[in-house]
Symmetry: C2
Subunit: 163 residues, 2 copies
DNA sequence: TATTGTTATACTCTATAACTATA
DNA sequence: TATAGTTATAGAGTATAACAATA
């Protein structure tokens, strides 16, 4: 698609204040870290979502299944906090995973306030398939980054995320 | 803050399937590109928003002012497309910038369907201050990245965003 | 008193369809 | 027919306050 700006019919080569070039060059914006990060994140998430379409898992849902597999029996608060999700917002997320038969809440016997969360058998099977798909996605991104681009990128991103 | 998971009172050193460690380690997630990108983007945007609090400009609003300064008289569609914003969503954004006296729509004489967008004098003054604040923010992020971290990061992010 | 899960709510961002006036 | 701006609307994602049950 071609991006055009406001333009008058005008003799060739002639310039005017209110008539920018046909396509807008965003200029210094493309060298700003936040902007570049946002564009890259959108592109990578798009590829991730398309890659996992078969299992219908969004990035956040996949991350929850991964954590539940690593730390089965965790409370909702623990999982939510580990992933940077507010516990209030985690309720609906878990509701959906549970309604899809991927995870389940079990009443805790020790602390009756909390639920212990587990993957179901179906959840584990789905996660296994999701992992394979995510690996393909990841491999594709790593290939784009080139030789030791991954380690370098993760190191730099870690410095920005710290604190 | 300490993240705790579901835990029973239990003799020291004893392990159990449904009792994960006190804090959940997200594990392989931290080495996934999309996840690392998201965390970094959130951290950088947070710093950006705090840095520009004085002028009350969000990242997207700042980017619009930057583009208008570079390409005054551009149409709404051109600006929106250049920044990856849907033109329908750009209407309310511009409404706010206009109501704050930062930008203005002018009826185009050549094509009466479109508006030519300009910064106001106040918009230019605000942008000048915003640029100074954004530069401080950017300098802080660059310092975190270390020696030639910026060029490396932008090169890698560009490879992920391509297409 | 503090915490867990929950509900209600609101605000931002994003996406699509459809209208109008112009081209 | 197609495009620019607009409206309406819906869906994610995220944030806060408050409540009941339990610690």
């Amino acid at each position: 698609m071609t991006v055009r700006t406001h333009t008058k019919t005008r003799a060739k080569g002639e310039a005017a204040f209110d008539e920018p070039a046909e396509e807008i060059d965003i200029g210094p914006l493309s060298r700003m870290i936040g902007y570049a990060l946002r564009r890259a994140q959108i592109a990578v998430f798009e590829d991730f979502i398309a890659s996992l379409a078969e299992v219908n898992l969004r990035p956040a849902q996949f991350s929850v299944l991964l954590v539940l597999d690593r730390a089965p029996g965790s409370t909702q608060s623990a999982v939510a906090t580990a992933l940077g999700i507010k516990r209030a917002n985690f309720v609906a997320m878990l509701d959906e995973l549970e309604s899809r038969g991927l995870a389940e809440r079990k009443l805790s016997v020790n602390d009756k306030r909390s639920n212990a969360i587990f993957l179901t058998v179906h959840g584990r099977k789905t996660l296994a398939r999701a992992r394979a798909l995510a690996l393909q996605h990841e491999t594709r991104q790593i290939a784009r980054l080139g030789d030791d681009g991954l380690d370098t990128l993760l190191r730099l991103l870690g410095r920005l995320s710290a604190r």
